[in-house]
């Protein structure tokens, strides 16, 4: 996917479908999260390292466009990239593909907080640098 250096794969679980016979709309946010975790796994130990360093990343906004219905057992690629890193804030953008077809897209906004106080705090330097390198 042009403009994306990272993607992860998953199959639609039966539990993720609903009585319309398609994947439930809330599930896409879970897939976006799966992609974020896989994205970060490339740097140190990923999200766990972030937590070990005393950080937590809260989701503060989410947006999904459901372009094509997605079905049980469909093999999906979740393309993800980090954009707009500014102090404590950053965003992820996503494109979801099935074979060569875009089936959904969207973005989520996040705030890095101190794990104890839950107060906003700058993205740790090692992660900001790793992300900048990954996205360049």
């Amino acid at each position: 996917m042009e403009g994306f250096n990272f993607s992860t794969e998953l199959s639609v679980r039966f539990a993720e479908t609903d009585a319309q016979g398609i994947a439930h709309n809330a599930t896409y946010l879970v897939w976006y999260e799966v992609a974020r975790i896989a994205y970060l796994h490339r740097f140190r130990e990923g999200y766990k390292s972030l937590q070990a360093d005393g950080y937590e990343a809260l989701t503060i906004e989410s947006h999904v466009r459901y372009l094509k219905p997605v079905f049980f057992d469909d093999r999906l690629h979740v393309h993800a990239r980090v954009v707009d890193v500014r102090g404590a804030r950053f965003r992820y953008e996503y494109v979801l593909t099935r074979d060569d077809e875009i089936v959904a897209d969207g973005w989520t906004a996040h705030a890095v907080v101190d794990r104890e106080t839950l107060r906003p705090t700058r993205l740790p330097e090692w992660l900001a640098e790793a992300v900048a390198a990954a996205e360049s």
Copy 2:
């Protein structure tokens, strides 16, 4: 909540929390859906009537702003209204409150489709009229 004629109540389930100790971000889309179903319950038998008439409403876009963390067992009000009914399309807007505090808001866009063909079709007259009356 000013501007909203409808709300429904729910308590945050333990299963809806995550290891950050707060309600998981995907759950809000489930709560929005719970509110849509409750909203429609006031008209005939609600969504089931829509299905019985051969319609299905697909979610084609969703947006959530997470303003305050929400915790296990919190009692929430989901305020919902229908806006922008145009042919096969309509949107819901939501405000989520805990006591007098707004903890989240958002909207979802929907397309009414024929249950068999999944082709877009106008909102049935009885529902368009019921919604117009409810929102006036």
Copy 3:
């Protein structure tokens, strides 16, 4: 339901259905949990009091029998009772009804642990007594 002094009500959410058109089998464990929380709500502030006192109750075993399919928007009663309170251990038994029909039953086993150490610890006296009174 004979033998049960407590029940709580819920409606099957659309998100809880799957592509078989029925409620997904994992959802029943969520409903059982909803019933446990409602059950405890009658005593002090329920599970939150338990947590405030430094306890957590872990689920160590679960069993569900799915007797009749359950559908979107079905109104269900979850009958629940506590049995076999012994030291740190206790069990819940459940019967799920729709109108007068039993649609599922099951049980879960739990261990009370210290919230910090996660080591087993006796059920607090106030709760053991409240449960004994509720079940007598």
Copy 4:
């Protein structure tokens, strides 16, 4: 795992954890299902073939023993085998491991039904034979 010829791998998703900081008890039934789907994938196109042939497999009973807490991002192996194939009925048994440690086990019972009538029907011959070969 002795006695098991099949296993599949998965990582605990953040959405699958709860405010106890561990994977939620209902999630295990989703993992068991993921394992069933992966198990069947080895035969024709798996569960989709079963559906295409006009069958559906209902879950009629489930049992889980939670032996060790499981955490976000843990890498798990779900070992699964089919036992007790009799007419329309069969069971799966599961052992869940993390590294060399057993963290959970359990079983589910299923009934094969005709997709249209939902009446019990014998497991199709091709699948019964494939399973018998896989488990021998």
